[in-house]
Symmetry: C2
Subunit: 258 residues, 2 copies
């Protein structure tokens, strides 16, 4: 049995989802609702005590951490097309890119995302309900992040994260100006993991990611959206996230600003 | 040609060094001097434009990032004993542990290490010499860290890092109380990468890492120090870092406090 618990095709959840669809590995998909705090529910914490998605259940064992899950799927399902370069040097480049997402790119985008979405959600709860919820969060740093989001992140922190986002966008654009895919000539987990964070940036960071300033990054985002794996992933999401084309067609969804 | 540039057997540099010695892979070792800022010199930035060690040169290609280098060595030198579990689930556990070092454990220990050692070094320079040096640092966040170390890290930041160090020590102790090695029954890169950060803690954090509070962590540190690979690594370091036994025998080296 292969079952993926996720929030659907966005952020870290997108990584193993896209890897599975791209490679054509059959799996069962279980979507959790972030708005209902499913990830901190007792039933899910029995699966991942950290209360985080994505989590993969495979033959009675649970694997956590999005990037580790993608590598696990490569180690186990060797009969399917691979997203890990066969050449060791290119594979190392792939890992430098996925590591960079996990240590830098995902965090700055995450803070701004929390500021924009989790902050209002947390403020919509009464003090008592909020505290009740925070108590259920297993990771201390996540508790702190929820509290910060509710109070409002310090402007200094938001400015610093925005600086890092700008740096990240420039870095991706520079690389994609010289190479079709991030880790070399082939589409790989480097692209999957960066796409997980970058896909929504044409909408959420239109002042940074646009046809004038980042043509190569934009073309790469569109190339990945056009791949059959990505199309299937977006089409199969129940209560699904809108596709790239749909988001771009619906300007009202673009009105998210700092 | 296989050549490793490193600061010698401590922190991130220790990871690939120990992996090479443990596995018995012949290599050329080039030690850089942190006190002379070798890592930010022009000659080294031609090898790693980020100005960071460790860096591995292999047949004309350069691989960076300590954890990525360790995986690269596994991908390339398959005829030598492996430090990566063959079982995919255990391999995933190994990666969760090495990832945790890179994203959590190494950072809190690093900040305190900078506070204790880089701060005084940075303050020993004149303003002009300091600025001259900072200009040579390629990574913006590293420049900021040098400035912060010189000014003195805010107490709030030091307290938060110390909280994370305490959490890390408790986490390692709990795991090592139930398992001889971090990722399962065999010594693996999970142990190598955590040892790189934890080895000096009996000295630098004696109030946390000691026979009473963390017997299993201490036994694990000693077990790794006793391995032939580690012994060879410490013995071969020119201007070498003192071995565990030497450090413990020399109490004067232990007088480092916040």
């Amino acid at each position: 049995m292969l079952k993926l618990y996720s929030f659907g095709p966005g952020a870290n959840s997108l990584k193993p989802l896209l890897a599975l669809y791209e490679r054509g590995i059959p799996f069962e998909s279980k979507y959790l609702s972030a708005a209902s705090f499913d990830q901190h529910s007792d039933w899910f914490k029995k699966i991942n005590p950290n209360g985080q998605v994505p989590a993969l259940e495979h033959d009675g064992k649970v694997i956590t951490e999005s990037t580790v899950i993608c590598e696990y799927l490569e180690d186990v399902f060797t009969d399917y097309p691979s997203l890990r370069p066969a050449d060791p040097y290119l594979r190392a480049q792939m890992r430098i890119w996925t590591k960079w997402v996990d240590e830098y790119f995902c965090w700055c985008v995450s803070t701004l995302g929390w500021h924009r979405r989790i902050g209002p959600l947390a403020r919509s709860l009464s003090d008592a309900d909020f505290e009740e919820h925070v108590k259920k969060i297993p990771i201390f740093e996540q508790q702190v992040k929820w509290r910060r989001a509710r109070e409002g992140f310090p402007q200094e922190m938001l400015d610093e994260e925005m600086r890092k986002i700008e740096f990240s966008v420039r870095k991706l654009e520079a690389r994609l100006a010289e190479s079709e895919w991030l880790a070399g000539p082939e589409f790989s987990l480097a692209d999957v993991c960066n796409f997980a964070i970058a896909n929504s940036m044409e909408v959420n960071y239109a002042e940074l990611v646009n046809a004038r300033d980042t043509p190569h990054l934009l073309a790469w985002i569109k190339r990945i959206n056009a791949r059959p794996g990505a199309q299937k992933m977006f089409a199969n999401a129940p209560g699904r996230a809108p596709s790239h084309a749909e988001v771009m067609a619906d300007e009202s969804k673009a009105k998210v600003t700092l």
